[in-house]
């Protein structure tokens, strides 16, 4: 039976008032268990359950009058679902908490960190990229330095412009200068020659310079040598194959004039012009670039007075001449104005002494100060 009706209460009673229910919908009840208390004129009567089972519906509220025979309880005949537990509810799904909104809470003051916050991975990256973290501004939480911050620092340290690979003359220069720097022990001596007697704008200075270098070599041949640093041998040459530095857009080229000490000036001049033309035409034979015994760099043609130039091994000396300029010079007759030619000689002090260079220099100056 699914529906329980109010049983006959006896004594001709037709109805009763529900005083209280003892069970709830969903309850498991057994036979004879009191379901509700009803009041008649005579008594408050407990109505026992006719059967065991589960209460589906209670059909009446406290204080309502129910007729004898009227349905008061529906039992649930469907199979009872097993909760599968003795506590709680296994079917609870986690919805957002329905709790009262909480007013903003003041936070405890946070002590500022004295060190930049850097995670281990970022620190490793900075080390690898050569970035000094002390100089980096962090944009991460709490001023933490991020990987992007490090990369930005790397980019900022570099000048603008795309790096271009060196080629040709510049590449050779880079290679040779690095090599020179590694081997040679350079020292430089400076002086000036008074060229007032012969110099004017049209004079061929290069010719006189070459003649002066030859004069120096005649006085002090040791500057016209090759030094082998490994074998520690010095080879002094009788002939002078003079490399003459030529500035060219795109770099520096040093064609070699052969045996300048033994050729007349005009021939030397002619050889030089031929070489310069070839250089401009970019058709210098390789043979004419090889094996200078010494080098002359008339760097002063444009600007610059003194220079400590680079001795390219196995050479032991390079003569540099700067811009001829007019100087005020004290004389016994008062100040005079003379044109001077600055001379710089950089030498490899492994092979050549300062005294030797001085004597070379003196010979050069003496030759340069001759009127013709």
């Amino acid at each position: 039976m699914s529906t329980f009706h109010l049983p006959d209460l006896g004594e001709g009673l037709q109805d009763a008032e529900i005083v209280a229910w003892h069970v709830a919908e969903g309850d498991h009840v057994v036979a004879d268990e009191p379901l509700l208390a009803v009041e008649t004129e005579k008594a408050v009567v407990e109505i026992p359950s006719p059967r065991s089972g589960y209460i589906k519906r209670l059909l009446g509220k406290p204080h309502e009058r129910v007729k004898v025979g009227a349905p008061i309880v529906e039992f649930d005949d469907a199979p009872h679902a097993d909760t599968g537990t003795v506590v709680g509810d296994l079917s609870v799904t986690r919805a957002a908490p329905a709790l009262p909104a909480v007013a903003a809470v003041p936070r405890a003051a946070v002590r500022p960190s004295l060190r930049a916050e850097v995670s281990p991975a970022v620190r490793a990256l900075a080390r690898q990229r050569g970035v000094d973290l002390a100089a980096v501004v962090g944009t991460g939480p709490g001023g933490a330095i991020s990987r992007a911050d490090v990369e930005r620092a790397v980019a900022a340290a570099q000048p603008a412009g795309e790096p271009v690979a060196l080629r040709g003359m510049r590449r050779s220069m880079a290679v040779n200068m690095a090599k020179a720097h590694a081997e040679v022990v350079p020292a430089t001596v400076w002086d000036e020659a008074d060229v007032e007697p012969w110099w004017n704008e049209q004079t061929d200075v290069t010719g006189r310079l070459i003649r002066a270098v030859a004069a120096g070599c005649a006085a002090q041949p040791i500057l016209n040598s090759w030094y082998d640093g490994k074998a520690m041998t010095l080879r002094t040459f009788a002939h002078i194959d003079l490399g003459v530095a030529v500035d060219l857009e795109g770099g520096l080229i040093v064609p070699v004039l052969r045996d300048v000490g033994n050729k007349p000036a005009a021939v030397v001049r002619g050889d030089l012009d031929k070489l310069k033309a070839a250089v401009r035409a970019r058709s210098v034979p390789v043979a004419d670039l090889l094996n200078p015994t010494m080098t002359l760099s008339n760097f002063g043609m444009i600007a610059g007075r003194q220079a400590a130039l680079v001795v390219v091994p196995p050479q032991v000396a390079i003569v540099g001449t700067g811009k001829i300029a007019r100087y005020a010079v004290p004389t016994s007759a008062g100040p005079a104005f003379r044109h001077k030619l600055p001379i710089s000689i950089t030498f490899d002090h492994r092979a050549v002494t300062g005294g030797e260079v001085s004597r070379f220099l003196k010979a050069m100056i003496d030759d340069l100060e001759k009127e013709t």
């Binding site: 097993d82 599968g84 537990t85 003795v86 506590v87 709680g88 509810d89 296994l90 079917s91 609870v92 799904t93 986690r94 957002a96 908490p97 709790l99 995670s119 281990p120 991975a121 970022v122 620190r123 490793a124 991460g140 939480p141 933490a144 991020s146 990987r147 992007a148």
Partner: protein
């Protein structure tokens, strides 16, 4: 294929273990006639009888001690402790005895027992029925501590635990008993009990969890996928012995690690994992290792329970903090 719930998976594993090895005995309060208050042992009493499926008196320490005697005497007891809120009396039996038998006797006496117990909150249960005491057990040498997060893993890990010869504490999240369901077959295949499971691969952050927090972590990962953050989710499963290598390798890729557990923060197992990550993946760390855990308070009664339990939203806030470290 119909889906299997975690409680059904556990039931299947127990039935299989009992049928393949007659040394397996199941004991505990209400596990026989009633089939266990959560129905983990449903049907076993009818199938295997009262000698092997034993309703015990109400005595947790006694259940622990009796299991030790059974195990040392050649049986394989699988004891149910009705709730982890009542497992504490067993700490004496487990720490002082079960976990030490092998080493004290140099292998002469073993203690191949499994203690199963429902753990965790989220089912609106009364006091003491929502505990997460796994960390206490991880500090006991010689003990294996397992917390499954899915029906298939509960099945495979429980089978491995029963077949093995080490004492095991196997804590089952009540919230997942019916809350977790998936297709699986009763094929008797065990899972390794010394390995973490990578459930989801990712490259931006590693979420490490166990038990009922695994579905929360997976939900977080799905949510953040839509925001362009790729989260790797690791189910530790076997807390002890810990497969730290899997976690460390993951953090070496992601650089960010968040451990999630229901148990209170301080002294929780998340601290162990954080230490291992710091040791093994230090130079890969972009962000501090975070732990999203229960607070250092008693689990509140149901009305305030939701404040306490970590959920996908709280994990998500931790992901946000971790991702701020670029």
């Amino acid at each position: 294929m119909p889906e299997t719930t975690m409680i059904q998976a556990i039931n299947l594993a127990l039935a299989r273990a009992m049928s393949e090895d007659e040394r397996v005995i199941v004991l505990g309060e209400d596990i026989g006639v009633d089939g266990g208050v959560f129905r983990a042992t449903d049907g076993l009493f009818a199938r295997f009888g009262p000698e092997r499926v034993r309703d015990t008196p109400l005595a947790e320490a006694g259940i622990g001690g009796i299991s030790i005697g059974l195990a040392a005497g050649g049986f394989k007891p699988v004891a149910e402790i009705q709730f982890t809120g009542f497992i504490y009396p067993l700490i004496d039996q487990i720490a002082n005895h079960a976990s030490r038998f092998r080493t004290r006797t140099r292998g002469r006496l073993l203690c191949p027992m499994v203690v199963r117990s429902p753990c965790g909150g989220g089912i609106h249960a009364p006091e003491h029925h929502s505990e997460s005491p796994e960390a206490m057990f991880t500090n006991i040498p010689g003990l294996r501590v397992i917390v499954p997060s899915s029906p298939r893993r509960a099945y495979g890990l429980l089978l491995a635990a029963i077949r093995g010869s080490d004492p095991v504490v196997f804590m089952e999240p009540t919230r997942l008993y019916r809350g977790a369901r998936e297709e699986m077959t009763d094929d008797g295949a065990a899972l390794p009990v010394d390995r973490c499971f990578v459930l989801r691969e990712g490259s931006d952050v590693t979420l490490v969890a166990w038990g009922a927090m695994v579905p929360e972590a997976l939900a977080t990962a799905t949510e953040w996928d839509a925001k362009g953050v790729s989260a790797e989710v690791i189910d530790v499963a076997t807390l002890k012995p810990l497969d730290a290598e899997t976690i460390i390798n993951s953090v070496k890729t992601t650089g960010r690690c968040i451990v999630v557990h229901e148990a209170p923060l301080t002294g929780g197992f998340g601290g162990e994992i954080a230490a291992r990550v710091a040791e093994g993946a230090f130079t890969s760390l972009l962000a501090p290792v975070q732990r999203v855990a229960g607070y250092d308070t008693v689990m509140p009664l149901p009305r305030l329970e939701d404040i306490y339990l970590p959920n996908a939203a709280r994990i998500g806030h931790a992901v946000e903090r971790a991702m701020a470290y670029a």
